[in-house]
Subunit: 410 residues, 2 copies
């Protein structure tokens, strides 16, 4: 690690090079040398077709082609356009509208929502709680504003959601600080593909209800980036109305992203949506989060907002977008099933998997195993506790082939 | 000011309502009631035509219409696409390329550049220096990450750039902390329209060279948002090569924005560009600023990046964009001249003005004067030290009419 010359470290651990960037570059080089068919590039976080090309919904692109100058060139209001806010609520809730006071603040993807939630519901130096298996940028987001990520074990010995660890960690942190932000990435968790079950959710809500008796503020951020690629869209939203049963000092915040659902990754179209028990708490949410936006990126890019407005303003269009997404979701679900079936056949242990873009394989020496696989032109991302395979970016045939190769490399 | 319920104040002063939003809403209501011609809405920060409509360069919109799905839907790399980085350098420097090691990090507008510069070249609790007349969000940006804005008087008694105040403030802050970020908004400063002269720049560089003898790090952020609306584009970039003469521990950072230059406001297309004395300092800049981006908004929206790529990849297109902008710049400059001529005629004192979107009038009771003018259907923004008039958003005729009305209201 180089020493700092003019910049200040500020408690962050800033790598010399982005690890994933290096892997991804080596994968691209291998494709150039050996051809597409000889390489499995399972590092990518977008849904790609069987040739490895990014899927963009045609119905969404048709909307893009109708846009006029003001649709992208004009500043959006800091918190988002009014019609976008309505669209974001519909997109996030569908038929599972929660009771409570709802406010929406547009953000650049899920990242912006997480950043604003941490900035407003913790203080400098605080701990932020998430699962041991987690999307690595959570740590970057927290440390960029002087907070630390603390983790609890996602699974217990029975390979079930570890509610005891969750409860203990929440209470432990709340004993040390005046408020807490808890991040749960579900359904179709990145990187394991796990989805909290209805019982898991009941347990989480009971635990937080108990912890709330301290009177301290608890912000429960649910990162739903992959929600529309888990299975039936309404079934996987059944947890949302449950959030309304939380006590007043627990604030559920949905970190909503249009990246995957509408294939709008590069437009940075997201929103943070609160489900508050009182109007005052919802107003406060809007006010403080808009302030954070103003002070970080100002207004959010408009083009994605207008695309969502237009989709939700036209039932027929919405139906065609949903239908197109369902087609690709089925493709993705088949890939995930292929991987887990083959893993079972060859006796490869995987982390409890439900659905989504990623599958994880636990192992003790991830870097080493990943390097070994690279020699066979298989590229995947080594994490702290194992390997992350993106089934979103490789064809079903590769999903069938990989488990045996990984098993052999272990 | 409401007390905080669940959110944490974190040293910020978060207003109950955005002041400008209120004024702007009252202006819109007045237009609905009395008609466009009876209302002067001089609150808007975008370049509008004489009917008050946003100007979007037609040549830019033609590029937008050629975009394919990947041009907006794909994630851009965290630091920006390689071709965008080249385009941003060309756009920022034109024929005034500085010597040194240049690195570019894409950011959501100037806001993102300022945020990242402050986050990386100061520590929590530090002071950030800018001018007493300044764009209000500087304070929001600094306070959102626990820094404070300190100001020096932009003008001395002779109505010239106050180099003595500048020097004293830099040295005073450097005596208290290990590094400093200095923000200068020039040319065509928001909100006064002042542009640092070549002599001002020589003085600033001499002062910082002296302050640098402390060995402490100085990040000099030049916010050039309005650079292409000041006058001749190369003449107003002559300060850039001068920045190369600064010593190693002074890092010039250009906060570049495509918002005004390419009428891409809502795409959040900007970049921070460093002019470093060593490769190591430039590498560090890229590394720490990309980390900050990753932890704040992740990758930056792609659509604006691709539009700039395409414009700078086609000389003919670039020429037509420049020509179109020159036409609107002349329109804007004429408005500014009209305002200052009339001000001189009626004896209205204005803050030293050169060019750009805004003119400022100093006064002791800005809120009161603004309220008085609202009764005559004139809407402008009261600042701490006076009134800000956006000549960018009103026709030349209104610019001629306003000075006498303001004079009368004072």
């Amino acid at each position: 690690m180089a020493e700092y010359i003019l910049a200040r470290e500020n408690g962050r651990v800033i790598p010399k090079e982005d690890k994933n960037f290096g892997i991804s570059n080596r994968a691209k080089a291998a494709i150039r040398e050996y051809g597409k068919d000889a390489v499995v590039n399972s590092t990518i976080g977008t849904l790609n077709d069987d040739s490895g090309d990014l899927i963009v919904l045609e119905s969404v692109h048709k909307v893009f082609q109708t846009l006029g100058p003001k649709d992208y060139a004009e500043y959006a209001p800091i918190g988002g356009t009014p019609a976008f806010k309505e669209a974001a609520k519909k997109a996030a809730f569908k038929n599972n509208v929660p009771e409570g006071f709802i406010e929406v603040v547009a953000t650049p993807g899920g990242t912006g929502s997480l950043r604003n939630a941490i900035s407003n519901y913790t203080i400098y130096g605080d701990k932020v709680l998430t699962t041991d298996w987690h999307w690595a940028p959570y740590k970057t987001i927290a440390s960029e504003i002087g907070r630390k990520i603390e983790v609890f074990e996602l699974f217990n010995a029975e390979r079930k959601f570890n509610i005891d660890a969750f409860k203990a960690s929440v209470n432990d942190i709340l004993a040390q600080q005046e408020s807490i932000v808890v991040i749960l990435n579900t359904p179709a968790h990145n990187p394991t593909g796990y989805s909290l079950t209805p019982t898991d959710w009941d347990n989480v809500i009971a635990a937080l209800t108990e912890s709330a008796q301290t009177g301290k503020a608890i912000a429960l951020v649910v990162d739903v980036a992959y929600m529309d690629f888990a299975g039936d869209e309404d079934e996987y939203r059944q947890f949302i109305p449950k959030l309304s049963t939380l006590p007043e000092n627990v604030l559920p915040i949905i970190a909503y992203s249009g990246s995957k659902t509408f294939t709008l990754y590069g437009t940075r179209c997201g929103a943070m949506i609160c489900i508050a028990k009182t109007q005052a708490i919802a107003d406060e949410f809007k006010r403080v989060c808009e302030f954070s936006s103003r002070g970080s990126w100002s207004n959010n890019a408009k083009v994605g907002q207008v695309i969502l407005e237009k989709i939700f303003d036209d039932e027929e269009l919405l139906a065609s977008v949903s239908k197109e997404r369902a087609y690709y979701r089925d493709m993705l679900l088949a890939r995930g099933r292929a991987f887990s079936e083959e893993a079972a056949k060859v006796g490869l242990e995987i982390v409890p998997f439900d659905a989504g873009f990623f599958v994880s394989v636990p192992c003790d020496n991830p870097e080493e195993v990943a390097a070994k696989l690279e020699k066979e032109n298989v590229f995947l991302v080594p994490l702290a506790k194992g390997l992350r395979i993106s089934v979103a970016s490789i064809p079903e045939a590769a999903c069938r082939k990989l488990p045996a190769m990984i098993k052999a490399a272990l």
